[in-house]
């Protein structure tokens, strides 16, 4: 503890740094000031200490190597670019995943549900007993049950198994074998099925009329 009334040189030196920083109490400050007035050596030490603080505390003492700023700016720009990518990348994976899922669903809807690009006749057939005897004929790729009024060109009809018919590219008649098609068009709207069936019916009616005309001409 420094004597607040009288201080010697060593005590002054010990507190001189705090004195310069204003970090001594009023009593000690007063005592030290009195000492400085009387002691030329300590006054010189005080002045020198203040000069050191002033000189080194000057901004001009802080120098950086040539090109430091440019190199720093370059590194920061690179890092900032990386950070931007990085922050994007945080979202990129989940966004891409969602896009893939949504896109996948949309594609599934597009090709399987909303817009049937294939004819109802080309729709997958389900539940047709492979050994069932069906009738096929020339001029049509539709197979029927025997006696179906919509068999085209009855003169050329022949009986084969449903499995063989389908392997040969025949599809079930939408009239006599409709039950096997109904199960295969799940997802189609009723209107679409009806429209498709109506178109097919018109086509087959035309075929029947054409065949009847040919038969009549033959007689």
């Amino acid at each position: 503890m420094v004597n607040r009334e009288v201080v010697n040189c060593e005590q002054v030196w010990k507190e001189i740094s705090n004195y310069v920083d204003g970090d001594v109490d009023a009593a000690l400050r007063s005592t030290m000031e009195e000492h400085f007035r009387a002691c030329k050596r300590c006054a010189s030490v005080l002045a020198g200490t203040r000069n050191v603080v002033q000189l080194y505390g000057d901004e001009r003492m802080l120098e950086v190597p040539t090109g430091f700023s440019r190199r720093l700016e370059k590194r920061l720009a690179k890092k900032a670019g990386g950070e931007r990518w990085s922050s994007w990348s945080v979202w990129l994976v989940p966004v891409a995943a969602i896009a893939l899922i949504v896109g996948g669903l949309k594609l599934t809807n597009t090709f399987s549900f909303r817009h049937p690009v294939r004819s109802i006749l080309a729709a997958p057939v389900h539940g047709v007993p492979p050994d069932m005897q069906v009738v096929v004929s020339s001029g049509s790729k539709v197979f029927h049950v025997a006696g179906c009024p919509f068999i085209h060109d009855k003169a050329s009809e022949r009986t084969i198994t449903a499995k063989q018919a389908m392997q040969d590219g025949y599809v079930p008649c939408s009239r006599c074998l409709r039950q096997y098609l109904k199960t295969s068009v799940t997802g189609h709207s009723g209107a679409e099925v009806a429209d498709s069936a109506a178109a097919e019916e018109e086509e087959e009616q035309e075929e029947l009329l054409s065949a009847a005309g040919q038969n009549a001409a033959g007689h």
């Binding site: 970090d23 010189s44 050191v52 802080l62 720093l72 920061l76």
Partner: protein, 219 residues
């Protein structure tokens, strides 16, 4: 939003400007970060140099510290001083490198007894005046830097952070992981040693010749 390129001399305006910049960078305007740290790049470099004593290592550490500050800018809280936060990151980076690389020669063994003992000035040259233009001379700045470089690490680090970086006692203590009392003791010795080194030079016309060779101390 901040207006880039604005030049402000008023400390209050500068403080407002800095807060705006910090806020902008935190919100994602990464390109403004360099503008934010540019006023401190010399202080950051000086802090790294005080610890690493090698210009190349100091530059790399200083720039790495600023990259880390950029990466962690969201963690900065307004109640802290940005400059202090930046310097502390730099000190941590430099100390970590010194521990990791162990390329900086160990020096100035931390001798608590030596630290506690008093320091007596060796030179009582009258050094009361400093020509204001002194620091304009590169030679003067260079010799001041050389004098600083001769100090043992523990004194140099405290002196740089306190008197050149203008951290307060507590901030300096926290940055270096030492007590406030140690900061005061080391600061006192650093100031007095520098005064001894420089006073003689001053008396002889500002270092017309250095009274000591680099790496050796007259005390």
């Amino acid at each position: 939003m901040s207006e880039p390129g604005m030049v402000l001399n008023n400390p209050v305006q500068m403080g407002t400007r800095e807060r705006d910049l910090i806020s902008d960078v935190q919100r994602g305007q990464h390109e403004l970060f360099y503008e934010l740290v540019r006023p401190y790049e010399r202080r950051v470099y000086a802090a790294a140099l005080a610890i690493l004593r090698n210009e190349h290592d100091a530059e790399d550490a200083a720039q790495e510290a600023m990259l880390k500050a950029f990466a962690n800018i969201r963690q900065f809280r307004a109640e802290a001083r940005f400059s202090t936060w930046l310097i502390q990151i730099t000190v941590n980076e430099a100390l970590m490198r010194r521990r990791r690389e162990r390329t900086v020669p160990m020096e100035g063994i931390d001798n608590r007894v030596d630290e506690e003992s008093g320091y007596a000035p060796r030179d009582f040259a009258d050094w009361r005046e400093i020509p204001s233009e002194a620091l304009e001379r590169k030679e003067v700045r260079q010799r001041l830097a050389e004098a600083l470089a001769t100090l043992d690490r523990k004194y140099r680090e405290v002196f740089v952070l306190r008197d050149m970086e203008h951290l307060n006692i507590q901030e300096t203590a926290e940055a270096l992981g030492i007590t406030a009392a140690s900061v005061k003791t080391r600061l006192l010795r650093a100031r007095l040693m520098l005064r001894d080194l420089l006073a003689a030079g001053w008396e002889q016309g500002w270092f017309s010749r250095l009274p000591f060779e680099k790496g050796t101390k007259p005390w």
